[in-house]
């Protein structure tokens, strides 16, 4: 196998920034077969691969890359799917630069092997051909309930179905997929891909019930009464945080959750063809520095905003957003106001936002997160004129199901306390994903769903 000694990743074709900033189509277009083979040949096939350790679900990375280099794409996707059930999703939204690619030896001398892009290629190759349903084992005659349908739940449900359990997924929204559907925008993760993943677990025999707000329409106790022998809770971190500053209830101030849900789930970009509206003004400020802030800012641009700012109280270095998303946002013309913190939102007499009063910040001593704490610069207040504000400063646990479930131990931040296998304080109840860890990544949630599925299997096998 020839080795490609290029120091740089094989570039992935993408929509040009000046074009994509006004449409919701996917930004990155994916590798061609030639691109993929070319990139796969950069892999050194390390005997002790660091990349695998860097992957929360231990995808056998060198093995699948070797198969791509040998043009055995079917073989490659098979290897990935041994441990990752949502590769088309992960290839797009995983922070590879902090995981597998960070550990890549090639990366020490230049850019690491583009593991994420190759994973995406293999997954898309299979999708284009039509995913085959694996042969299903004999049914075990045991029912498991999975609450929520985001990445943790889909993974848990899929794994349990493959073992022969009768799995029912309960989703509160009218459409399954959780954050993959309501949160992550179409231009980063096409909804058709999420739908295919949901269709796939349905083919495995999983029943997906939508419109089921658990804790309200049914409780965990009801589920046990209905004959479910184990319950997995993967309800995510869906409670929006506000800043608690004056003026947050002015018209035109959105939580990122509302802003993105209106656009992604309710398809407000097609209004009035669809019925859910959204108001995006000429000048938008998004408060926050994570991926959700990037998604909100880039969505605002695509909704027709003339100028979009990201207002972040720390500096570029501390920003939690993925480098790639930051680059994409910059290319599209998003303006970054670092070391800037809103202190008050200003409104007009009708209650509409007309500006934000901000204060400049400087970095002081490191705080609990290890990052340097931003401190206000006295007398540096200034007003930014904007007509839309999106608050993307994080989310907390939604208490709806938790409050309705007795005997569930919580962490001090209100998340569900669970051990490394997702076991909670209540017998027969597991939890995983953001509802345990707080807002994290798709791949970590998947990993949690996977471990919980294995643990549930063990529990139900021993329980006769």
């Amino acid at each position: 196998m020839p080795l490609n000694k290029s120091k740089k990743k094989t570039p992935m074709p993408a929509q040009k920034p000046e074009v994509r900033r006004r449409n919701f189509n996917e930004v990155a277009l994916g590798y061609t077969q030639e691109d993929a083979v070319n990139e796969a040949q950069r892999c050194l096939q390390c005997k002790k691969p660091g990349c695998v350790q860097g992957c929360p679900v231990q995808v056998q990375i060198p093995r699948f890359i070797k198969l791509i280099a040998e043009r055995d794409f079917d073989g490659a996707i098979k290897v990935i799917k041994e441990t990752n059930s949502l590769p088309a999703v992960c290839g797009r939204v995983c922070p590879q630069e902090e995981q597998c690619e960070q550990k890549c030896v090639v990366g020490k001398m230049g850019e690491p092997v583009a593991i994420g892009r190759l994973e995406r290629f293999a997954a898309d190759w299979e999708r284009a051909k039509g995913v085959k349903t694996p042969e299903l084992p004999e049914k075990l005659g045991k029912k498991v309930a999975v609450i929520g349908s985001g990445p943790a739940s889909l993974t848990c449900a899929g794994d349990l179905a493959k073992l022969g359990y009768d799995v029912t997924v309960f989703e509160a929204f009218h459409k399954p997929g959780g954050v993959l559907v309501y949160g992550i925008p179409e231009f980063r993760l096409p909804k058709a891909i999420v739908q295919e993943e949901v269709d796939f677990i349905k083919k495995l025999g999983v029943e997906v019930k939508t419109d089921m707000v658990m804790g309200k329409v049914l409780t965990v106790d009801d589920l046990f009464d209905m004959g479910y022998e184990a319950v997995f809770i993967g309800t995510g971190a869906g409670l929006p945080k506000f800043m608690g500053i004056p003026g947050e209830n002015y018209l035109g101030v959105y939580s990122a959750n509302e802003f993105l849900t209106r656009i992604n789930l309710m398809r407000a970009y097609s209004f009035p063809e669809t019925d859910t509206p959204i108001k995006v003004g000429k000048k938008v400020a998004v408060v926050g520095g994570g991926n959700v802030a990037m998604d909100s800012a880039r969505s605002a641009l695509r909704m027709g905003a003339e100028e979009v700012h990201i207002v972040y109280r720390r500096s570029e270095e501390e920003m939690p957003a993925r480098q790639e998303e930051f680059e994409n946002a910059k290319e599209e013309g998003i303006i970054f106001d670092f070391l800037t913190n809103p202190v008050r939102i200003l409104g007009d007499e009708k209650g509409w936002v007309k500006g934000i009063e901000c204060i400049r910040m400087e970095l002081g001593e490191p705080d609990a997160s290890g990052r340097r704490r931003p401190v206000p610069v006295k007398g540096s207040e200034f007003t930014m004129e904007v007509d839309t504000v999106v608050i993307a400063i994080g989310t907390g646990p939604n208490p709806l199901l938790i409050k309705a479930t007795e005997g569930l131990e919580l962490t001090k931040y209100g998340y569900i306390a669970a051990d490394e296998n997702g076991r909670t304080s209540r017998e027969g109840v597991w939890a995983g994903g953001d509802i345990v860890t707080g807002a994290a990544t798709v791949i970590l949630a998947m990993g949690a769903g996977k471990k919980a599925a294995a643990s549930i299997h063990e529990y139900l096998q021993s329980k006769k």
């Binding site: 209830n249 669809t274 209650g351 709806l400």
Partner: protein
């Protein structure tokens, strides 16, 4: 999909649907609401539960044709299916050991008032009610309210039935006459609840209102329904929809309700146009058929 079992036209623009929704019916309690969506691409709208029957598995909702979605809903009939019907959402209302309660309902607000008073009546609480509407033919739930009230006052804005004037006028009179209540429940348009709460405040009588701000998910996820109650931000969907009327910032609520006024008009006009086209199309078809 959820089936409309029965449709009743309560007033020219007010309709009642009895929905087949056994799981919702089983858990529903007074004060809770549902979110429904007519079809794919439709918006999610909250409607307060007006009645429910756990045994029959039915949930009753009442709506007024105002915007596009409610107008479209108004074209549907028994046997038709709704795409989504989610609930029961919100916190059920609970009353301590009351002896005497006053219910005040204006317009469509009489519908969500009814299940609360029905529960109180069944608990043996003395119930006095004041209901009203713009005109006699806009008045809803009069018989139902009569059945659960020890005393019922009816008002119309134009005097076409009962007392001539607003429900708040009767409310004021009763209090001025010195009648005592353990709690007063006021449900109707925000302005009515605001005025009503202002009337009861000097008497120090606990006053419950039920809010209906703009919502998307109804599960606490978006925060679009946030209201200021006693200076704190609360989410009407998961903390309400019932709140202490003396603490609600109604001015803010009314402003926020107007967020999408322009868009609501665009949607409603488009619906109207499409609907009229259909109608004129049918008339033309009929004319053509007649000519043949």
């Amino acid at each position: 999909m959820f089936k409309i079992l029965e449709r009743k036209d309560l007033a020219p623009s007010i309709k009642l649907f009895v929905m087949d929704a056994p799981l919702v019916a089983k858990k529903a309690r007074p004060g809770q609401f549902v979110i429904l969506r007519i079809r794919e691409g439709g918006e999610r709208i909250p409607l307060t539960i007006a009645d429910y029957d756990a045994e029959k598995g039915t949930v009753t909702v009442v709506f007024q044709e105002v915007g596009k979605t409610t107008r479209e809903l108004g074209t549907m009939k028994a046997g038709d299916l709704l795409q989504d019907f989610v609930g029961p959402l919100g916190v059920p209302v609970e009353f301590p050991h009351h002896k005497k309660v006053l219910g005040v309902g204006g317009g469509l607000g009489v519908a969500p008032l009814y299940p609360k008073l029905k529960m109180l009546h069944e608990q043996g609480v003395e119930v006095v009610s004041i209901i009203g509407a713009k005109t006699a033919d806009m008045l809803i739930f009069e018989d139902e309210m009569k059945a659960v009230s020890d005393r019922l006052y009816v008002c119309t804005d134009d005097g076409s039935k009962g007392r001539h004037g607003f429900v708040t006028v009767v409310l004021k009179e009763l209090l001025e006459q010195g009648e005592k209540f353990d709690e007063i429940i006021i449900i109707g348009p925000p302005i009515l609840m605001k005025i009503g709460a202002d009337i009861t405040r000097p008497y120090g009588i606990p006053t419950m209102v039920s809010l209906n701000p703009i919502m998307v998910d109804g599960t606490g996820m978006c925060g679009g329904c946030r209201v200021s109650v006693g200076g704190e931000t609360r989410f009407a969907c998961v903390d309400g929809p019932a709140f202490d009327g003396h603490k609600v910032d109604f001015d803010e609520l009314m402003k926020r309700l107007a967020t999408y006024r322009d868009e609501e008009k665009i949607s409603a006009d488009r619906f109207q146009e499409a609907h009229e086209c259909k109608l004129t199309g049918k008339i033309k078809e009929a004319e053509r058929d007649a000519a043949e």
